[in-house]
Symmetry: C2
Subunit: 256 residues, 2 copies
């Protein structure tokens, strides 16, 4: 998935694609964007899908996009996620609006980006894209094995990164990611949405490992098991009889 | 505070004020608004400050406004609250974005409102004001005794209404209020912000009454008292010695 960064001024954009964007701007709400914190879980690690930008000297960014004048903000977020992950019906929720007056305009990186965007999209579009934006943060939970990352128009490549290895990103995107992570931690308990990150059936050990990855701390096994069982959301499946049946752990699934 | 509704087409707007608004539109972010659920507590009742609109055949609305291109969304919300309550440094927090594509355009009331706005503000401004808006909901907690309600440009009057007596409001404003109330209920416990609705010192009975008003249900006294004391946020003040000291309840205040 990872590729070498191309030199900034030698990007071969698809001509047709650029033209579409130039026409498109009028169909989007100005000054309002969506950025997505897309969480996946793999190898006992909580990961986030981030993008290496073609422009801005290869900045890291959260996958994001704009809102069409004819779609709801939730529909826009679903579309943006579909464009990047090739998945539909993803679990996603807005978590916060980021609306500091200088979150983009004040950034030096943005000034460099603007001249690159002008060369590619023309002055009018570059002005639109680098004007002040208020950003609605959405977080999403996906089954990482089902995701087929798709580059957006300005993505060089997309990459799953452990939450312990997030690079410095553009603007306030690190703050947005951190806030999305805190929301996931709150909701994992309140809304019991953890199963969206797990396969259909799992052992108690597996779900504990997920919780430990999300909260970045260990849980005492007995307490954890009691809490999960007391919550009443888990259904214990029958063990299949095998020679080693009594050593095999029980499998659970979430009640629907 | 309550006044008789004036006939819709006989409103005497201040000419200068209207002119300012006409000039002002360019200084605001289009398609993005803030609506506020302003909570106060009085006579064992949780109340919300709502506005009777001059236009729209006297619709009820939540106090709201637009965001200047040069201010953060939090600063905009503070300014809107200051304009309506005459208070500064109010506790306020965003709680949700309301972004259905038809939340305003699809409304019949809005169509009537548009022709009224055209007569008052001219076609360009009326188009701007009745275009699609994505709305950021903020909730605020105020000391009701300190509030001096101030009419906005389009308010006929503002009124404190018990949460049990909220009239039908314009657009999705009832949904916004309900969502603000649910957020207050969550945060009252999580963030222990209840003291912003109480005087500086209070009895255990008084804070229990506040909780009961917010949650609209009774709490068992012993459990409630234990929970509040266990949370460690309350400081018990010394009783003053009087003849009836042993009958007077303890006073508490929140630790700062």
């Amino acid at each position: 998935m990872k590729r070498t960064l191309k030199p900034i001024f030698a990007i071969n954009f698809d001509e047709k694609q650029i033209k579409m964007t130039q026409l498109d701007i009028e169909n989007y709400i100005p000054h309002l964007s969506i950025d997505c914190v897309i969480f996946g879980y793999e190898a006992k690690t909580l990961k986030v899908l981030i993008s290496k930008h073609k422009l801005g000297q290869g900045s890291w960014v959260l996958p994001g996009g704009y809102i069409r004048k004819t779609e709801s903000i939730d529909a826009a977020a679903s579309r943006i996620l579909k464009e990047r992950t090739d998945l539909e019906n993803i679990f996603l929720e807005q978590f916060k609006v980021f609306g500091a007056e200088n979150r983009i305009i004040g950034s030096n990186i943005r000034e460099n980006l603007k001249s690159e965007l002008e060369q590619t999209f023309g002055e009018e579009n570059a002005n639109w894209m680098t004007s002040r934006f208020v950003c609605i943060g959405y977080y999403a939970l996906v089954d990482i094995r089902k995701v087929n990352p798709q580059n957006g128009q300005l993505d060089d490549y997309l990459e799953w990164r452990s939450i312990n290895e997030i690079p410095e990103m553009i603007h306030d995107h690190n703050e947005i990611l951190q806030c999305g992570l805190e929301t996931l931690r709150q909701h994992l308990d309140q809304k019991l949405i953890g199963f969206k990150l797990l396969p259909e059936t799992f052992t108690m050990k597996e779900i504990q490992e997920l919780y430990e990855a999300v909260y970045a701390k260990p849980f005492a096994m007995n307490n954890f098991q009691k809490k999960m069982l007391d919550s009443g959301v888990l259904e214990r499946l029958e063990k299949k009889f095998t020679g080693a049946a009594n050593k095999a752990p029980y499998l659970y699934r979430f009640r629907s």
